[in-house]
Amino acid sequence: MEILRCEHLSKIYGSGGNQVKALDDVSFSVEKGEFVAIVGPSGSGKSTLLHILGGVDRPTDGKVYISDTDIHSLSEDKLAIFRRRQIGIVYQFYNLLPVLNVDENIVLPHLLDGRKLDEERLDLVVEQMGLLDRRNNLPSQLSGGQQQRVSIGRAIFNHPAIVLADEPTGNLDRKNGEEIMNLLKKSNHEQKQTLILITHDESIALQADRMLYFEDGRIKKDEKIRVSGGGVA
């Protein structure tokens, strides 16, 4: 089942002679439960694509459909509501709120939705992220790996349609990086969580079901590595 589809996406920064084309007519779709890795050199448009898919940036042209909703046709407030319900984003530098503890950071999108707190779900996520003994800590009292686990917890708490991860291991050592990848893969395998991940690390990209290779704002290669949730393609 198709969960994401983008059609003829383009993004141009600047104007006149200083125009930079970050994305150039990008079209692809992602199936539900698929794990897609986006790779490519710096400045190839990977992060721009991820931000447009996440609804935090708008394309110059083209459309993005998530669960059949054209997200960029939504008003700003409706898009924000869509983001907290359907999209989870994991950043390289965690981007946690410094005044909230682990629990509070994880449930933030849920609370913003005005829903009653699902304490069982919170306990489960905190346990899955291995943060049971750190629940009351502020981000500044956590290591980088722990902060990224909080960030993943926040991204998956609401069972979003897709999770977008922008180099989630880029700021971590190998061991922590592996742990983070295991968490993301576990969520992908066990809960059929659709995952789109940007990375420079080939070994991480090879763990995905599919790899999109970006260059100069275009998809140079769309390679199926293995069948979603299964063996090598």
Binding site: D77, P109, L138
Partner: protein, 929 residues
């Protein structure tokens, strides 16, 4: 690269990079310098302007001595405190055949001035020049305007005389000139003053001229603007010549004008009085007050107090502004200074970075602020001048001259430097203490505190929960906003209180004298019959007239109501036990001021408060309806009298001996007696025949303040007032042998009209003008022309308002920079919240709730600080001026909270909207403060 101090160089580079922050600091420091300049230059300029305006009224002299001869003049000149003198004398009147209005002004009144005297008396030439010798003359241009056939270069002859009148009317006993307090009997000859009008030939009196023997020919060398002493009604036009230095005549009528060194002047003017003689000394009160030479120090204390108050206020608000800006930029600054530290910059060098930035900006701000301040003072004076002219008289010819001394400039620079140094001291110390690594990482001062998620707090919604987290867990970061809010609230409240206090002091000075004024509105008139214990024939006639008027008025359809009241100033006595302790404490303090020492209990009891001695009381009698209404309003008993609980005792309205008090003191009493409702006491009054005191027992029905008496009358001053009914007043009259209350108290008819009646007005005016016992008053007449102290009160109000506005601007900038800085610092947080699904509306609500929380915390601190400051100001003012009724401005307090809250919430949302218009991604990536 030149040989730079690298720390300063890097600091300059960062100042360039952060133009907005640098500009806010620069603007704050400039505003501080500007306000300091306004305070000092404004004070000097305003006081000098007031001095010049007040000098217009009578001249630039402190004391004028009349009837002086050479011996007396020499004696005065030798006195150590006499700085300078000049003199004038009158040559008398001379015929002025060229007059254009001989029916009213047939003479010239010629005075001779010594050279300085022209300037001292503000004589200004409208054409030609001033006389240089005793053969030259200038004449008031009023004469020319009236059509005098006179030109510059003409010669006029003068033969001087003094005027007198002789009564010649055969069928009348005397002719009265009320304005001159003169009564001319038939056959009697009286000298008339220089300003006496010319009546021409008439049947009542004859004018005589007694020649002085002085004759002269004068050349007209110019015309002068009408001198301040010239009077329209006087018979002669003003004319001036120079004094004759070689005069053989020894004069004994010289007017000697003095400028005095008040610091060296002994208490009072006794020495000058003893030389010039009683009644021959005139003090230029206005000038002395404004020059700070008056024995009444109220004006000086107010000006000095206000200067200190505003300087402290400006320094405090500026310090907080500069401190906040440095504090907000701490993280960024600690990062680049941490980098410098890692390559060897010492703590001293890091500290110097802050001082360098602060003093660099001060150096630029000083000239800008001083020039802008001077401009604002000039502009402000131009705006205030019309009010001063309105209050002090015509002063349109006096230009506003800027006064700012070198010492004032030095003080401004010094105080600005001290403020900048103090405000940058703590940020500099903090930055010097931070280690290199923690500075670079930006985790300086991170707390180890852990916080549990409080699920029940989620009831306030995600926005409320987040607002609470941001405020509680980032106390330091929200501290600058809280501090700015507190300062704003404290400033608004304290200045509101201080303004009211200063206004109270000034108005108390205006209303110090004992008075009772019936309140009249547009259609209310007052016809009064003065009391006359002698029951004279004239009084009886007046009384009969008033009765006739009263009867006529009751039949007049246009007259709605006529109320009969009586007013008896000092009409009776009460034993010294009736005034309460509060009264005697205030009384004693005032006596102490005049005695220049603390009287012992025994001395005071013996000399001023003997138990069997009496205190005078004044009585107001109301008609039964009005009294009943008043008693109902204040909850008084049906029977008995009402005490007015509004008495002000001050060193202005009590005098003891000929000495001046140590300083001005004023006590407003809210409780004049310790008697309670229902208690009895006795009123005492002299028997008409025997002179013995008769006792009238009375009951206290209740107490009223001036506020309760609104619509009836107001009392001011130091005396006890009681309000009673006509029957009680009749009892008092009867017991003391008078058949009519009107014999011991003024009878007042308060006439209420349906609409104004011109004929009745003329009729009543005529009746009142015919005889000594009747007077007629309308609202217009009762509008008191307020004096100089009232002008001070009004000018003070205007100045206070100006300074409140200007200091509020500093506080507002402080708030703007704190909130702007805080929002800028939080851009990444906002962007993260948006990226995880927070809507703009939720963000706005969260910021609003944050503002309410910060405001709530601020209110507690602001109330505490305002309370302490208000109490201190109250204590200081009470210690200096006495116990006055300083009201706590609760309304302004609430307004301060509302204004601050609205500013905080409005600014937070405004800055958020402005900053969030930037790209979300840009904000997420933004790691700079």
């Amino acid at each position: 690269m030149k040989n730079h101090n690298i720390v300063h160089y890097v600091t300059r580079q960062y100042m360039r990079l952060n133009r907005k922050r640098t500009f806010i600091t620069f603007f704050g420091i400039t505003l501080m310098v500007l306000l300091m300049t306004c305070v000092f230059a404004g004070k000097d300029t305003a006081v000098n302007y007031l001095l010049e305006v007040s000098s217009l009224q009578s001249g630039k002299w402190d004391v004028s001595l009349q009837q002086m001869d050479t011996e007396k003049i020499n004696k005065v000149k030798e006195l150590p405190y006499v700085l300078d003198t000049t003199q004038a004398y009158s040559l008398g009147m001379t015929d002025f055949p060229q007059s254009g209005n001989p029916a009213e002004h047939p003479y010239l009144e010629v005075r001779a001035y010594s050279p300085d005297c022209f300037e001292w008396m503000n004589i200004s030439v409208s054409s030609g020049r001033l006389p240089e010798n005793d053969r030259e003359l200038v004449v008031s241009k009023t004469a020319v305007e009236d059509g005098a056939g006179l030109e510059i270069g003409d010669t006029v002859g003068a033969e001087f005389f003094h005027r007198s009148l002789t009564g010649i009317q055969k069928d009348a006993e005397s002719t009265v000139f009320p304005l001159f307090s003169m009564e001319l009997k038939q056959g009697e000859t009286l000298e008339v003053p220089w300003n006496f009008p010319y009546y021409g030939e008439n049947e009542s009196f004859r004018e005589n001229h007694e020649m002085t023997g002085e004759k002269k020919e004068y050349k007209i060398v110019g015309f002068i603007d009408a001198p301040s002493y010239e009077q329209n009604g006087a018979a002669g036009y003003a004319a001036l010549t120079a004094e004759d230095r070689n005069a053989s005549v020894k004069r004994s009528d010289v007017q000697l004008l003095l400028r005095l060194d008040m610091d060296r002047l002994p208490r009072g003017f006794q020495e000058l009085v003893s030389v010039a003689g009683e009644g021959n000394i005139k003090i230029n009160d206005y000038r002395m007050v404004f020059a700070g030479k008056s024995s009444d120090s109220t004006f000086n204390v107010l000006v000095t107090g206000m200067t200190v108050f505003f300087v402290v206020l400006i320094m405090l608000t500026s310090m907080i502004l500069i401190y906040n800006v440095f504090n907000l930029s701490f993280r960024e600054r600690s990062q680049y200074l941490g980098m410098l530290s890692s390559v060897g910059a010492t703590a001293k060098q890091r500290r110097s970075s802050i001082y360098y930035e602060a003093f660099f900006l001060l150096a630029v701000s000083l000239p800008v602020g001083i020039l802008a301040g001077i401009g604002i003072v000039k502009l402000g004076m131009h705006l205030i001048c019309p009010y001063i002219q309105l209050l002090l008289g015509p002063a349109e010819n006096i230009p506003v001259r800027l006064h700012i001394s070198v010492s004032a400039l030095a003080v401004i620079i010094l105080l600005s430097a001290v403020t900048v140094l103090l405000s940058s001291f703590f940020p500099a110390r903090r930055i010097a203490k931070a280690g290199a690594v923690e500075s670079i990482r930006g985790n300086y001062g991170k707390a180890d505190k852990k916080y549990k998620m409080r699920i029940r707090n989620l009831r306030a919604g995600a926005e409320g929960y987040l607002a609470a987290c941001f405020v509680k867990r980032q106390r330091k970061k929200s501290g600058s906003v809280r501090m700015a809010g507190i300062v704003f609230m404290v400033l608004l409240f304290v200045t509101a209180f201080s303004s009211q206090a200063v206004h109270t002091i000034a108005t108390q000075k205006v209303n110090h004298s004992a008075s009772m004024e019936m309140k009249l509105n547009k259609n209310q008139w007052e016809l009064s019959l003065w009391a006359d214990g002698d029951d004279s024939e004239d009084w009886k006639r007046a009384r009969a007239k008033m009765d006739a008027v009263e009867e006529e008025l009751s039949a007049d359809k246009n007259v709605k109501k006529v109320e009969t009241w009586y007013t008896g100033m000092f009409a009776a006595l009460v034993k010294n036990e009736v005034p309460g302790e509060e009264y005697w404490d205030a009384y004693r303090d005032i006596v102490n001021q005049y005695m220049h020492r603390e009287l012992s209990d025994e001395e005071f009891e013996r000399d001023y408060r003997k138990d069997d001695d009496f205190t005078t009381v004044s009585i107001q009698v109301l008609d039964d309806d009005s009294l009943h209404q008043l008693k109902e309003r204040i909850g008084a008993l049906d029977n008995g009298i009402i005490f007015v609980n509004d008495v002000t005792l001050s060193t202005d309205n009590w005098k003891f001996g000929n000495d001046s008090p140590d300083r001005y003191r004023s006590f407003h009493l809210n409780k004049v007696t310790d008697l309670g409702q229902g208690d009895t006491f006795s009123l005492w009054s002299s028997d008409r025949k025997t002179g013995e005191l008769a006792e009238i027992p009375l009951q206290v029905a209740g107490f009223a303040t001036n506020k309760d008496l609104e619509g009836y009358f107001t009392v001011d001053g130091q005396y006890l007032w009681i309000i009673m009914s006509e029957s009680e007043a009749s009892e008092l009259a009867k017991k003391t042998g008078y058949a009519d209350v009107a014999l011991i108290m003024t009878k007042d008819l308060r006439i209420q009209l349906e609409e104004a009646d011109k004929n009745l007005f003329q009729q009543l005016t005529q009746i009142a003008g015919d005889g000594d016992f009747l007077s007629f008053r309308t609202k217009t007449d009762s509008e008191i022309v307020e004096g100089v102290v009232s002008a001070i009160a009004k000018i003070t109000d205007i100045l206070l308002l100006c300074f409140v506005v200007l200091t509020s601007i500093i506080c507002l900038i402080n708030l703007v920079s704190s909130i702007g800085g805080r929002v800028a610092e939080r851009q990444k947080e906002f962007a993260v919240m948006e990226s995880v699904g927070m809507t703009k509306r939720q963000m706005g609500r969260m910021l609003l709730l944050e503002s309410i929380r910060i405001l709530g915390q601020g209110i507690v601190a602001a109330s505490l600080i305002s309370g302490i400051l208000t109490a201190v100001i109250y204590k200081v003012l009470s210690a200096w001026f006495g116990r006055m009724e300083f009201r706590i401005p609760y309304g302004q307090g609430i307004l301060a909270v509302v204004v601050t809250g609205a500013a905080m919430a409005g600014l937070s949302i405004y800055f958020f909207n402005r900053e969030s218009s930037r790209n979300l991604i840009e904000n997420i990536r933004n790691d700079m403060v």
